[in-house]
């Protein structure tokens, strides 16, 4: 039994290294003694038979139309994964495309796939910097970076958590992300799963539960998570957040 992690549209949606979260899940699974592979999926033709988790990163605005078209070609699978409890991590514009749609600064709109609630709306200027989120559901503090020119509205009833530092969904919500079942959308870009081992392990635990496997983090995981802990502590200090401020 091998775990299959799909990296969706890595050629269009990997601006900040978000697609590498698929490799993070695979590495942690292997350190736990499990078989795992990452499959890059650019269109429905690349889809493997079994899918245990999906990672969709962020892209540039210029590729929004192309990415939307590619995702539409897999709308049936996306809906099925969302309903069946296959963990999906969507970052930045990848997340926005899974929502209701995107309002662009020039007045145009791009329709989303409606997998999760809410839509992206223009914000006054780009925000780039540290983002710290007090996540509900035992995930603790999520630490990372954000870089986006849009806010997100309509997820007020289903956010990932409260913003401790940074902007997040904006519009005065004080919230970040959207979480509906096992589908997560977030502005936290880059290696968010490497930087937030609890979130990574929650996803892995869910994958293994569905696959009938036991997930026990390996020895190597503890060593690597030590680097993550130190990097988190440094970033929390820089962002002025006390590490003890957990949910």
């Amino acid at each position: 039994m091998s775990l299959t992690i799909v990296s969706l549209l890595p050629s269009l949606q990997n601006t900040n290294g978000d697609a590498e979260n698929a490799a993070v899940l695979a590495a942690r699974a292997r350190w736990a003694g499990l078989d795992a592979r990452v499959v890059a999926v650019e269109s429905a033709a690349d889809l493997p038979e079994r899918v245990d988790a999906v990672v969709l990163g962020s892209g540039s605005d210029a590729s929004l139309d192309r990415s939307r078209a590619a995702l539409l070609g897999m709308h049936h699978e996306l809906r099925r994964w969302g309903t069946e409890g296959v963990p999906i991590l969507a970052v930045g514009t990848g997340w926005e495309l899974l929502g209701w749609g995107i309002e662009l600064a020039d007045g145009g709109t791009i329709e989303g796939l409606g997998l999760v609630a809410g839509r992206a709306v223009p914000r006054d200027g780009r925000v780039a910097g540290d983002l710290v989120v007090n996540a509900s559901g035992g995930l603790g503090l999520l630490v990372g970076f954000e870089n986006h020119a849009r806010d997100y509205v309509g997820a007020e009833g289903s956010p990932i958590g409260r913003v401790q530092a940074g902007s997040g969904n904006g519009r005065g919500s004080g919230q970040e992300g959207v979480r509906m079942g096992d589908v997560l959308g977030t502005h936290l870009h880059g290696p968010v799963l490497a930087k937030n081992p609890r979130l990574a392990d929650a996803i892995l635990a869910r994958m293994c539960e569905r696959a009938g496997l036991d997930y026990v983090p390996g020895e190597r995981t503890a060593v690597v998570d030590g680097y993550a802990e130190a990097a988190r502590a440094a970033q929390l200090r820089a962002a002025g957040v006390a590490a003890s401020a957990t949910a």
Partner: protein, 418 residues
């Protein structure tokens, strides 16, 4: 005469800055002159008899500028150029002040300027360039530019200032489109690599978008082959052998860019043999694959500035290199964009250091690299690394970001050309 008072004030500011920080260059005099004489930079840049040449792009602009200046000087041109650290407006004005007479006039036939891709568009407002050379568009400094479209847009605005020629990297998809849009009467010249050279770079050259077709011999300056620190440039029917400042395809591409630009600037006076000799005489660039003896040990220095140079430079470290120090400094604000790179070929790193040591260790660990030690204090990391017995295989290798490079040089008391 118009600028004499501002120049005087700028000079006095420079003296004051030098007193405060002996030996150091400063952007403050430029800031002062730009404030009291806002037209000075524009007027002076437009005043060189042979015109202004601008080099910009995501990476390689520093090396390309140095190579171009060297070729032009070999042809007897008097060249004004800026140090690579002074590529935004205050720094540029400060650099001009270094050379200016009391009226603000700067001697030279031609100015060759390395221009920051972010600030260049603004510096170039109202300034006409004879030739603009664009090296590439890479995903670089993500918190600054967000995406490649933005970088390409800024380079497009710089290119729009060219009235003579635009010289572009034909392998770069963004620049190829940009070249299709230049104004009537502006010549387009190209440089690029051959299919054979591209085939030796299994991960590509790091462009955000690589064009599907290679440049035909005769349609521009083609890097025909690269062998370590030497390369052959194909210029029409002529093969020109050149030495490079360090091993690596990207240096050969920089040489092709400089060669193509010099040819555009000099026209009939361009001499391929002189150009080859000038290119081959460029000294090794610090931190760019240079081997230095430090504290009685041979050390290779490898600078990583963006994901593309990171991948190329890490790939060029011979496999089996036993002792690597890896230092990422505060210049890398958000290391996320480095994550798509793969450093697994390093296998093992002796010390990870720099102010972003933990972020770097995390990334290396997920590439499957074993880390012996994380030492936040770069000085201590360097001392211990150099004090350890020499490796049985390979040469001690220090990989660093620009900020960690500066700190390393200061700590080891290394000076030299930058």
């Amino acid at each position: 005469m118009k600028y004499a008072p501002a120049i005087l004030v700028g000079r006095l500011t420079r003296i004051a800055a030098r007193l405060r920080k002996p030996g150091g260059g400063s952007a403050v005099p430029g800031l002062v002159v730009n404030t009291i004489a806002p037209g000075y930079l524009r007027t002076t840049l437009s005043g060189f008899p042979q015109g202004l040449v601008v080099v910009s792009g995501s990476s390689g602009k520093s090396t390309t500028t140095k190579m171009l200046v060297s070729i032009l000087r070999a042809h007897g041109e008097r060249v004004f150029t800026n140090p690579s650290t002074a590529n935004i407006s205050q720094g540029l004005t400060s650099a001009l002040l270094e050379q200016a007479d009391w009226r603000g006039r700067v001697p030279g036939d031609v100015a060759v300027l390395e221009m920051d891709e972010g600030h260049g568009a603004r510096v170039m407002e109202g300034v006409d360039a004879r030739v603009v050379t664009l090296t590439n568009v890479m995903v670089d400094q993500i918190d600054r530019f967000h995406d490649s479209e933005m970088v390409a847009g800024m380079l497009g605005r710089i290119a729009a200032r060219a009235h003579g020629a635009v010289v572009v990297n034909a392998d770069d998809g963004y620049l190829a489109r940009l070249a299709a849009d230049v104004a009537d009467g502006v010549e387009v010249r190209r440089f690029g690599v051959s299919a054979e050279v591209l085939a030796t770079a299994p991960r590509g050259l790091g462009h955000t978008e690589t064009t599907p077709e290679r440049l035909d011999r005769g349609d521009g300056i083609v890097v025909a082959s690269v062998d370590g620190a030497s390369a052959v440039l194909a210029d029409g029917a002529t093969d020109v052998a050149v030495g490079l400042p360090a091993r690596g395809i990207h240096y050969a591409v920089d040489a092709a860019a400089a060669y193509a630009t010099a040819s555009a600037v000099l026209g009939e006076r361009f001499d391929a043999e002189l150009a080859a000799r000038a290119l081959s005489s460029i000294p090794a660039v610090f931190g760019r694959g240079e081997r230095v003896t430090v504290r009685g040990q041979e050390v290779d220095f490898v600078l990583v500035q963006n994901p593309a140079s990171y991948q190329l430079n890490v790939d060029s470290i011979p496999s089996g290199t036993e002792q690597v120090l890896f230092a990422i400094g505060s210049d890398v604000r958000d290391p996320s964009y480095f994550w798509p790179t793969d450093a697994s070929s390093l296998g093992r790193v002796a010390v990870v250091s720099g102010s972003k040591a933990d972020e770097a260790a995390l990334m290396l660990a997920y590439d499957g690299v074993e880390i012996d030690r994380v030492e936040h204090d770069l000085g201590r990391a360097l001392d211990d690394f150099l004090a350890a017995p020499p490796p049985t295989a390979g040469v001690k290798t220090i990989v660093f970001s620009a900020d960690a490079m500066r700190r390393t040089r200061a700590h080891l008391g290394l000076t030299g050309a930058e």
